[in-house]
């Protein structure tokens, strides 16, 4: 069975693994113990102790806490119950003018702000940019991912989560 050390997974996740080694990992059979090593790497990265159950973005995690399962920013800010769209608890900046679009696209042609706007979803605490939506004005905010957390742990990992009830 393919297996990598936690250090290798850490470097891989951080984009610090040399390309030839990364390339070999991409080409090889996948390592079946990746998920829990990955969680351990991410857990080391955060300053809080609530166990991470599932990453749902680059610096966004579902974790188990005394208040239940929450979506948390890496800085610790809670976006609330993981079943709700975390974006609704974020702060947003909408680029819907030529001037504001030009700030991100200084040397390119830009969309017509009457047809498309750029929505930036930030963490209210650390200002990390978690997601960008490019959408027509009036388009509902997307709930990107609703994982079947219970089913994943129970059926795919064979390690059921403890019953919250």
């Amino acid at each position: 069975m393919t297996e990598y050390s936690k250090e290798v997974i850490n470097d891989l996740v951080n984009g610090a693994l040399p390309w030839p080694q990364t390339r070999r990992i991409m080409s090889a059979y996948k390592d079946d113990d990746r998920f829990f090593k990955y969680l351990a790497v991410l857990q080391d990265r955060v300053a809080w102790s609530d166990p991470i159950l599932l990453p749902v973005g680059d610096r966004l995690f579902i974790c188990d806490s005394a208040e239940g399962r929450l979506t948390r920013c890496e800085c610790g800010y809670s976006f609330g119950d993981y079943r709700r769209n975390w974006k609704l608890k974020a702060v947003i900046n909408v680029r819907d003018t030529e001037e504001s679009l030009r700030e991100i696209y200084p040397n390119s042609d830009i969309p017509d702000p009457k047809w498309m706007e750029i929505r930036e979803f930030f963490c209210p605490e650390c200002a990390h940019l978690h997601e960008v939506e490019a959408a027509a004005p009036g388009y509902p905010i997307v709930h990107d991912f609703e994982p079947d957390l219970e089913g994943f742990y129970r059926d795919w990992l064979g390690k059921p989560l403890k019953d919250l009830s």
């Binding site: 693994l17 079946d32 990746r34 947003i92 042609d109 200002a127 490019a134 027509a136 004005p137 994982p147």
Partner: protein, 730 residues
């Protein structure tokens, strides 16, 4: 009426489908008996079949006269069961492996066994997307494989033709608004017998195409590939026995189905994933478009993907737009093909993929939408315009699953449209010609979750992206290159930027009539996206051209030339440099013919970015600026990276200044941003007033009319009454 009981192949197809329905396994193969009995033999034979395909394709490429096939590899070949399910395939444009499957099944369902009959040595061809292909230039040939009188399979080959004889030259017939202007159709036609292509078919091609040498020689290349595979399979059956072959080929497919389910369970997380993209279609004021509908259209493409606990992937396009009088519609075959080619790249890259992978997926393409028109007269000649953005979303949805599961090295922000140039008129040799330019096969890719995207090296439809050689392209068209360069900032910004695209500039040469047409070019909206905080790539670039330029006079005076439009979107280097009529054109480029002395440029697209821009490595960014992948202006304004110059004048990151600048930018973010709840409350008033551009309002009305779910979710999100409607009429 045909007596269906007299069609044993048709009965077999129905039986195979019934068995799949009943057992959940391909053709009722509930056990991989041959694999269990002798796994080594099983794998060896599978690899052998794959080798037959790869070898046949390489041989065929050397017969072709088309630079699209010879240089760029716009071809794929495959071996099928008698019922038309792919067992093994070559590398190349794998999207067509499943579309060819549909073509074979269509013939079986339509009584071809009785008329025109399926005999040893027959050659059948098709480029009708409603039967089974993606677009009119994708012409496929299949030949039956008989072994001692028994039909044991099919060999098939597809080439993307550079000229299809449509209303505008080239293969992607941008101006086609109905089927009748798309070009030469071959509708599941028997074009040859006894291994020979019929002379009358060749004559039809010669008299209906602008450049028949491409199509006709490609036919010969495809037939040669099919015969080569056929003979190899027959030889294999001689070695292993007919009964063994018949079981083996089905076990390969069932194994492919199981492998796909297992791979999904291994690499992703079950649940529901959502995303969307948009495409702007603007034809107002462009010559040639018939007034069959509104000239401008905004397409929304929402996609919901469910990964079930079994590992099945379900894609749902509910909520997207209706088909229209343009060339960007897609058929179910094309939608299946898009799914297949994406899966082969992301989950089945070991080379043994077949139709089993496709069977582990489901797709909902609502009737009446561009994904499944309820009118078979709809044109599909440039269906990639919407297919590529759509399956770019699919790639992002899959990637979120890879990130959640920890396989970050597989996460990829997705493909983009890479607009094509089609051309025709009088060649540099004084003859009529028509051609599609395929350097677009080297766009920028989306970023990965661990590194920047590939620069000028990726497109979704051909995983072996190759732009071909300039010298070969120049031999085939009356234009010479005066520039080809990286487009700075063309990758979406992010911690890891999207791969950059390139721009080419040509001098029209030795012709007084060159028609240039481009397609798959979104107007007014980006048709891609970023992931996890990355920005979309700027994919609505305009065309720049100069008519009656003074380039020859400048060259004679030995004055500097402009080789690209440059990085000022408001004033191009062409305008600064050349005298002549300056042209800016958004969306598809359809204008009056060009002539010698004109200058034309065309930019391709980069991919979306990944992660927060303020986390981008300053040292890597300095290198990007030095090498022209980013401008200094973008480095500072977008990425917050301050650059100074080293002793040799090269950009160097000022780390301290960068840290300070980024701290300022983070403060600015929080100062500018508002709570989402506040924004929703404000925006709701705009929605209630239907305060939108006409095209946006039309998009909402169309989506709501076609999709009760879209309508319900839209109203629920904004807290609107159930009888709310966007003002206006479609």
């Amino acid at each position: 009426m045909l007596d269906k009981t007299a069609n044993p192949l048709q009965r077999r197809l129905l039986e195979s489908e019934r068995l799949m329905e009943e057992t959940g396994c391909y053709d009722g193969i509930t056990e991989l008996r041959l694999r269990r009995q002798d796994p080594l033999k099983f794998e060896t034979l599978h690899t052998k079949l794959r080798a037959y395909c790869v070898s046949a394709r390489e041989m065929a490429r050397r017969i072709s006269a088309s630079p699209g096939v010879r240089e760029v590899g716009e071809m794929v070949v495959a071996i099928y069961t008698p019922e038309g399910d792919a067992i093994a395939l070559s590398n190349g444009i794998m999207v067509h492996v499943h579309t060819m499957s549909r073509f074979i099944k269509w013939m079986i369902r339509n009584g071809y066994e009785q008329n025109p009959c399926i005999r040893d040595g027959d050659i059948f061809a098709n480029n009708d997307a409603f039967i089974g292909t993606v677009q009119v230039p994708d012409v496929m040939d299949v030949v039956p494989i008989f072994h001692e009188g028994t039909l044991v399979g099919w060999a098939g080959a597809v080439c993307h033709e550079l000229e299809a004889g449509g209303i505008t030259p080239g293969g992607d017939v941008c101006l086609a608004q109905e089927r009748f202007t798309e070009g030469l159709f071959v509708c599941a036609e028997k074009i040859g017998e006894n291994d020979e292509i019929r002379r009358d078919y060749v004559i039809r091609c010669e008299r209906n195409l602008r450049m028949p040498i491409y199509w006709v020689l490609d036919e010969k290349a495809k037939v040669a590939a099919c015969i080569d595979m056929r003979e190899s399979v027959k030889q294999l059956i001689d070695e292993v026995g007919l009964e063994y072959w018949q079981r083996l080929s089905k076990e390969f497919i069932e194994e492919g189905r199981r492998a796909q389910l297992a791979r999904t369970r291994q690499l992703t997380v079950p649940g529901v994933y959502r995303g969307h993209t948009f495409y702007g279609h603007v034809t107002e004021g462009k010559p040639g478009f018939q007034p069959l509908a509104d000239p401008n259209w905004l397409y929304n493409i929402p996609i919901e993907m469910e990964i079930t606990s079994e590992g099945k992937i379900r894609l749902d396009f509910d909520g997207t737009q209706p088909w229209g009088y343009h060339s960007m519609n897609c058929t179910p075959a094309g939608m299946d093909g898009g799914m297949f080619v994406t899966l082969t790249q992301h989950m089945n890259f070991e080379g043994l993929v077949n139709d089993g992978a496709w069977m582990a997926t489901e797709i909902n393409i609502p009737h009446g939408t561009w994904t499944n028109p309820d009118n078979e007269m709809a044109a599909t000649a440039t269906s990639w315009a919407l297919l590529l953005p759509a399956y770019g979303v699919f790639q992002r949805l899959l990637s979120r699953g890879f990130i959640a599961r920890g396989f970050v090295e597989e996460a990829f922000v997705g493909q983009v449209n890479s607009p094509m140039i089609e051309m025709g008129g009088t060649s540099q040799y004084g003859t009529g010609f028509g051609m599609a330019h395929f350097e677009c096969a080297a766009a920028g890719s989306g970023a990965l979750a661990i590194k920047d995207g590939l620069d000028t090296a990726y497109v979704g439809w051909n995983p072996e992206s190759d732009m071909g050689n300039i010298e070969i392209w120049e031999q085939n068209m009356p234009m010479v290159y005066i520039g080809r360069s990286i487009v700075p900032n063309s990758g979406g910004a992010g911690k890891y930027r999207g791969g950059c695209a390139f721009i080419s500039t040509w001098l029209i040469n030795k012709t007084d009539h060159l028609r240039l047409v481009t397609s798959e070019h979104s107007s007014r909206v980006f048709d891609n996206g970023g992931l996890c905080g990355g920005y979309p790539a700027p994919t609505c670039e305009k065309h720049h051209a100069v008519r009656n330029s003074d380039i020859h006079e400048r060259a004679e005076r030995r004055e500097p030339l402009a080789h690209a439009p440059g990085t000022d979107p408001l004033l191009s280097d062409f305008e600064r440099t050349y005298k002549g009529e300056q042209v800016w054109e958004e969306g598809p480029y359809i204008t009056r013919p060009h002539k010698a002395g004109d200058i034309f440029s065309h930019a391709y697209n980069g991919g979306g970015g990944f992660g927060d821009v303020l986390e981008r490595d300053p040292i890597k960014t300095a290198r990007d600026v030095e090498n022209g992948f980013l401008t200094r202006e973008a480095a500072e304004k977008v990425f917050g990276i301050i650059l100074k110059e080293d002793a040799e004048g090269c950009p160097q990151a000022d780390i301290d200044a960068t840290v300070a600048r980024r701290a300022e930018l983070r403060k600015k973010r929080l100062k500018q941003a508002v709570p989402v709840s506040e924004w929703i409350a404000r925006e709701k008033r705009r929605v209630e007033a239907s305060d939108f551009a006409p095209e946006v309002a039309k998009m909402y009305r169309s989506a709501m009319k076609l999709s009760p779910r879209f309508s319900r979710e839209f109203k629920e999100f904004w807290g609107l009454a159930s009888d709310f409607a966007i003002a206006g009429e479609n």
